[in-house]
């Protein structure tokens, strides 16, 4: 079991005994947790490496996350900078490289509370867009943290619509320099991480002007702070954008540029260059970089976003077997709250969702590798497909994970609201993911645009990308289930999802076409269909995830016990989706009213089945207590003791507040004589 390797770094409370209610859940697991962990890690070797890294990190007081919830924005920022610098040092000592397997486990162990994430984006953008000379000049400095960079794209007035960015870079032939300016307040760079306090340099996106002509957005490297005393460079106004919902440890910043001159060599020039005489030259295709960038962006899902849902489930489910409240039967002891159907209904579909999303990683990688090989051979056909896939997945995954973490938070009742539960910080971090790296509604519409094109290709008999090939298969028109057991057949529910995705897309496309034919302008027609198009894109993504879950379960054929529980989770994920969107499936009669009752019955039965393995299923995620950093979710289940111990460490209990002496004491004095 997952317990064996924990003794080395089990902290807090000082006792190793496990809450008997939690222990009992582990005794009855229907499968080997250790085996499932290995599968989730992509092999037992990975599990071993991960645990070794975690052991190093957690045994090092320099990385302690203790008291993190009590720190101010300033303290959080400083701790993140300190840990990042220290991690660099430790990695070097351990012989772990930047591209080695250990680094992602370091991030996992540290719960992401590090600075310089955007510094990495700064480096990647130079690697992608810079010439060999530019790379040779900047990367070694950045690699050693001799300079800290940021990636300044988003402005106060523009995020989604890149063409609307207003920062300008005007080329002056006489001086061979670009002059960068923030012409108005809405053009101020706003939000870039590491910009507010740390960065010495920035890759800045600006509209390039040569001889009065605008050539669109280009990237420029400029120094924004002195390397000697860190003061802002002349003409640079830079600072922190202030408190946010989370990410207190990151100094998201603003940047205003007033006539900043930089040499011609500071424009990143792999794909476009300005010659000394002002001639603009474009060369090569940046599509391979585009591919790398969209995938790097999507990898955040598996390294940051999805793990947070896994953690939230771990905390909420462990707490739900430790927490007892009310009685199910008179005379019995109070019941574990996970035994209430309503609690199962909140948490277990999320657990299934966590598995469904985790398993999408392999699917996306496969797509990427295929695309990469093709693009290397100058074949760009798969690019739109990959773009559509990653856009839609990013949107659906961040939407679901965010909503899911909030459900977990509220499912823990009052204690979930305590910062010490760890859930508020998971939720607020996830909430940011719905807007960063592409606002979700915009992303769904990009997927929809691709699907509409695919549908047109189906109608005109042209080839269709594999991702949307299902659009051309023939529809049976009616769901083929006869009993509630039939709804546990993947073919049955996959077909229902396929039907829904096809129907919703078809309806949206028909309406779009109708509007255009009746004289509406294309853009207006599109806008009038966007609500339906978003629904169609969601249905498409949902279907892709269901299909991949089914395929993943099939591949587990040599793991009978694990395949069995994975199949239950897959069924639950699929049926919960139908149960939560009954209208989509009933409309047009694909699923009949009687069949919908069967879906509900099967769905509710599954809750009771998965309930029994709920704790082993979250144990298999194998998060250390340190990385969970939750008083409610620790492996040993000593919830109440930990809450009490941690609360006592709160600064509010350690420091003297002026409130009493200044405001309360005068009031209370007059009661002395009366009571």
């Amino acid at each position: 079991m997952a317990q064996w390797n924990r003794s080395g770094y089990f902290r807090s409370s000082g006792s190793r005994d496990v809450n008997p209610d939690l222990e009992a859940e582990r005794q009855t697991a229907s499968f080997s947790v250790e085996r499932l962990t290995a599968i989730l890690d992509g092999g037992a070797d990975n599990t071993r490496t991960r645990r070794a890294v975690e052991a190093v990190i957690h045994s090092d007081p320099g990385f302690s996350r203790e008291n993190q919830y009590f720190q101010s924005q300033n303290e959080r920022y400083e701790a993140a900078v300190r840990k990042s610098v220290y991690l660099k040092e430790r990695m070097h000592q351990m012989g772990w490289t930047e591209d080695g397997p250990e680094i992602k486990y370091c991030f996992r162990a540290l719960g992401g509370d590090l600075a310089f994430n955007v510094h990495r984006v700064f480096m990647n953008s130079i690697l992608a867009l810079g010439t060999d000379e530019q790379i040779a000049k900047w990367i070694p400095l950045a690699d050693k943290y001799h300079i800290i960079g940021t990636y300044a794209q988003t402005e106060l007035g523009h995020g989604t619509f890149l063409r609307g960015l207003e920062t300008t870079a005007i080329f002056d032939i006489s001086t061979q320099e670009f002059t960068l300016n923030t012409p108005k307040i809405s053009a101020m760079k706003w939000w870039p991480g590491d910009l507010g306090r740390s960065a010495t340099h920035a890759v800045v996106f600006a509209q390039l002007y040569i001889k009065g002509k605008c050539y669109g957005l280009h990237a420029f490297i400029l120094q924004i702070r002195s390397l000697r005393d860190h003061s802002p460079a002349p003409g640079v106004i830079v600072g922190d954008i202030g408190p946010k919902m989370n990410f207190e440890h990151i100094d998201n910043g603003y940047l205003m540029l007033q006539n900043i001159n930089i040499p011609r060599e500071n424009m990143l020039s792999r794909f476009s260059q300005v010659l000394p005489d002002g001639t603009y030259v474009k060369r090569g295709s940046d599509k391979i970089n585009y591919l790398t960038m969209i995938v790097t962006r999507v990898q955040i899902l598996w390294t940051e976003v999805i793990p947070m849902l896994l953690k939230a489930c771990t905390i909420a489910i462990r707490y739900s077997v430790v927490r007892r409240q009310s009685k199910l039967n008179p005379g019995d002891p109070e019941a574990k709250i996970l035994d209430y159907q309503t609690q199962q209904q909140k948490l277990l579909p999320l657990l299934a969702t966590a598995y469904a999303f985790h398993f999408m990683n392999a699917y996306v990688n496969e797509f990427y590798n295929k695309g990469y090989t093709e693009i290397k051979q100058e074949n760009f056909d798969s690019l739109p497909e990959l773009h559509a896939l990653t856009s839609g997945l990013k949107a659906i995954i961040t939407d679901y994970c965010t909503a899911g973490a909030e459900v977990c938070l509220r499912a823990c009742g009052g204690h979930g609201y305590s910062a010490l539960s760890g859930l508020p910080s998971l939720y607020t971090k996830l909430a940011a993911s719905c807007t960063y790296e592409g606002e979700n509604t915009v992303l769904f519409l990009q997927t929809a645009r691709f699907l509409v094109k695919c549908l047109a290709a189906v109608h005109s008999g042209q080839p269709i990308p594999p991702l949307a090939a299902y659009l051309s298969s023939v529809d049976s028109g009616k769901c083929q289930a006869w009993t509630k057991m039939d709804f546990l057949k993947p073919d049955i529910y996959a077909e229902a999802y396929r039907h829904r995705a096809t129907r919703l897309l078809g309806n949206a496309a028909t309406k779009l076409q109708g509007l255009v034919q009746s004289g509406a302008e294309q853009h207006e027609a599109w806008n009038q269909c966007t609500v339906q198009l978003v629904q169609a894109a969601k249905a498409h993504c949902h279907y892709i995830v269901v299909k991949n879950f089914i395929a993943t379960v099939e591949k587990l054929r040599n793991e009978a016990e694990i395949q069995k529980i994975a199949k239950h989770l897959c069924d639950l994920f699929a049926l919960h989706g139908i149960f939560s969107n009954t209208g989509d499936f009933l409309h047009a009669g694909y699923i009949s009213r009687d069949q919908m009752d069967m879906v509900t019955a099967s769905y509710l039965n599954l809750l009771a089945v998965i309930r029994n393995d709920a704790v082993p299923l979250v144990d298999a995620f194998d998060f250390t207590d340190e990385s969970l950093n939750s008083a409610l979710g620790s492996y040993d289940g000593h919830v109440y003791q930990r809450l009490y111990e941690w609360a006592q460490k709160s600064p509010t209990n350690q420091q003297v507040s002026q409130a009493y002496a200044s405001y309360l004491k005068p009031l209370f004095q007059s009661a002395l004589s009366k009571l």
Binding site: L156, T160, M188, H230, S326, K346, G414, T441, V531
Partner: protein
């Protein structure tokens, strides 16, 4: 003023001032509210730095200062009416809370309602004067929902005529009460009363916890703050552990139950009386759901009118993001919901006052129904508002995530209402219990009255095999009254389905409780459908009371949007029950989009009508004048990280790395 907002306001089809009067309950009340708000807004004593820039400790101190100040000012101005106090308070609080809120509400109310006359004489004067500050310590670490499970004990010792209070386990430590951690010197403690060797259940005791004069915890008392939370930074939610702590017999609140000096226990007359208070508190939460959602909508809709992004038509200027259908679809149904909930809150408050009159005349007959049904409404509105606030925040993109938007504060302050005063799922199940009881009554031939009277239409269903919903109905999707009928049918269908499933489980298993648990997902759905019906009905009723034609027209559209959007989000229920056909469902979703377009031109005027002052809104994005970007910059400059031009961590951590250059 920002030109976009000016244009939006100029082109409104109605006068928002008239709508403000409706929301306030009359022009005179609007006038008086503004008068009171001005007292706070123009008072330099209430000015302070944005709390988002302060530490928890500083925020706490600031909140205490203002609470104490308020007591002085209210006395000075002679404001005593509860509504007026409320207006005063919310103007200086904005999205934040005060550590004294439990003192003003639960502590004071409990003393008023559960003290004997002698106890009132002793405790109330210093309570009003803030010479003692109290909290209400009910919830324990291990028990919130299940009150009977509370573990704190109060054991009567006739020898000394004292109660001995104890927290026998870790889980019995009082946990969460607001104002307990640092502020209060007294607490009303709920504990299991033991006398003459018997447990008599939960009773309330008044317990001094800190020494007057030094504010040090008394011997036997361990008290402190429970640490940081999602929000409520200003609040010292606390813990309290008691070890053989003795209080005199007179400190048990004895208006109802009593312990005689010799230890004899005298039972209370009726326990239904506390229902009245709970109904009142729930009506406040429903009102708060409406208000929090209204504020979020105000911010998001104003921002969406000022923010321009992308292009709809190539070559044209970037449109206001509120012109995107997807943005309208996110925000306008929430705007309609905010109005709907406002009317529900007003209805509940009115009903409470009417019923209080009856109670004073000894008539308790309506209380159980009201108690049961308001539970569900509390859950329904707080869940919806909770999700809606977040939707508003996300509709503001990245800037919504900044604390300067005010939306994170509205959300974190509001979200605990899904848990406190009754966890929402538990509340829904309470309502379900009443619905099932009513259904059973109808099935056995009795009629039921009030909001559940629609269940009477089910009478005879046990002899008629045909499902209620199978009866032919024609729903007119442009007629609010007809939509009320549709919601009514949906509720009865889901109540019936839950009741039947419950019966089926009972037939299969013997235990009532097991069957109940196995049907609880259905029961919660039925409750939700019932509450949804009530909300649509109350909104529709409100329409007939609007005299101004222009206001009526826009409210009629909002009401239709609320009802039709609800149907489009639950098409499955309406299809499965045969209330709507496939074709009608398609029409409904089409009609929803038409309504979005129809309401869009009035969106800004509709949020202006909520009449939130900028100070109360606490949002840079939601400013009345729409001058967003320059004020975001001004706000950011005040951030604690910007206190020094070069942050200290540069010298500590970065410089050593860069020195190697």
């Amino acid at each position: 003023m920002n030109k976009d907002l000016r244009r939006e306001r100029d082109s409104a089809s109605f006068n928002p001032e008239l709508l403000t009067h409706i929301l306030d309950g009359g022009a005179e009340r609007t006038r008086r509210r503004r008068e009171i708000e001005a007292l706070v807004l123009n008072d330099p004593d209430f000015q302070h730095e944005d709390l988002n820039f302060l530490s928890r400790s500083q925020r706490y101190a600031e909140a205490i200062r203002k609470s104490a100040l308020m007591v002085v000012k209210l006395r000075e101005y002679g404001i005593a009416d509860p509504d007026e106090i409320y207006w005063f308070k919310r103007t200086f609080q904005g999205s934040f809370v005060e550590p004294l809120s439990l003192h003003f509400s639960m502590f004071t109310n409990t003393l008023q309602n559960q003290c004997t006359v002698a106890q009132q004489d002793k405790w109330l004067p210093p309570t009003y004067g803030l010479q003692i500050i109290g909290t209400y310590a009910q919830t324990e670490m291990g028990h919130g929902t299940h009150l009977r499970g509370l573990e704190t004990t109060a054991t009567y010792d006739p020898a000394t005529q004292e109660f001995i209070l104890n927290s026998p386990t870790v889980t019995s430590i009082k946990w969460w009460p607001g104002g307990l951690g640092k502020t209060s010197n007294h607490a009303i403690v709920l504990a299991q009363l033991y006398t003459q060797g018997q447990c008599k259940g939960l009773h309330a005791f008044i317990v001094p916890i800190r020494r007057l004069g030094t504010h040090e915890p008394l011997p036997g008392i361990t008290v402190g703050d429970i640490g940081p939370k999602f929000g409520y930074d200003e609040m010292d939610n606390g813990y309290l552990k008691m070890d053989n702590f003795r209080i005199p017999r007179e400190n048990m609140l004895m208006k109802y139950a009593k312990v005689e000096p010799d230890g004899t226990y005298v039972k209370p007359v009726s326990d239904k009386l506390t229902y009245g208070t709970m109904v009142f508190i729930r009506s406040l939460i429903v009102g708060e759901s409406a208000r929090s959602l209204s504020r979020a909508c105000t911010i998001a809709i104003r921002y969406s009118s000022v923010r321009h992004q992308s292009e709809l038509k190539p070559g044209e200027p970037e449109p206001q993001i509120l012109d995107y259908q997807t943005q309208q679809y996110k925000l306008l149904p929430l705007l309609a919901t905010a109005y709907a909930f406002h009317f529900v809150g007003a209805y509940m408050k009115k009903t409470y006052h009417r019923i209080t009159g009856d109670i004073n005349q000894g008539n308790l007959s309506e209380l159980p129904e009201l108690h049961a049904l308001t539970a569900g409404l509390k859950a329904f509105t707080s869940w919806t508002a909770n999700a809606g606030i977040e939707e508003c925040r996300m509709a503001c993109g990245g800037h919504g995530y900044s604390r300067c938007s005010g939306l994170p504060d509205i959300y974190v302050t509001f979200t605990p209402s899904c848990t406190y005063e009754g966890e929402n799922t538990v509340m829904m199940l309470q309502t379900a219990r009443f619905l099932i009881k009513s259904y059973t009554q109808v099935s056995s031939g009795q009629l039921v009255s009030g909001m559940v009277s629609y269940l009477n239409d089910l009478s005879g269903q046990h002899i008629q095999p045909q499902q209620v919903a199978a009866r032919p109905t024609t729903v007119h999707i442009n007629d609010p009254a007809s939509l009320v009928e549709a919601y009514k049918l949906r509720a009865s269908r889901l109540v019936e389905a839950a009741a039947k499933n419950l019966q089926a489980e009972l037939n299969r298993r013997k235990s009532q409780e097991d069957a109940w648990n196995r049907t609880s997902v259905d029961l919660v759905r039925a409750s939700g459908a019932h509450c949804h019906y009530v909300v649509v009905k109350l909104f529709t009723t409100q329409l007939s009371e609007i005299n101004d034609a222009a206001v009526h027209a826009v409210m009629n559209n909002l009401c239709l949007l609320y009802a039709l959007y609800g149907i489009s989000k639950h098409t499955g229920d309406f299809l499965q029950a045969g209330i709507l056909t496939d074709a009608q469902v398609t029409q409904v979703s089409q009609r929803v989009k038409e309504l979005l377009a129809a309401i869009r031109p009035n969106a800004v005027a509709l949020v202006d009508a909520f009449d939130f002052h900028d100070n109360h809104l606490g949002s840079v994005l939601g400013r009345y004048d729409g001058n967003i970007y320059e004020n975001m910059f001004e706000w950011a400059k005040k951030s604690p990280l910007n206190k020094t031009e070069v942050h200290e961590s540069f010298h500590k951590h970065l410089k050593p790395m860069q020195a190697k250059l």
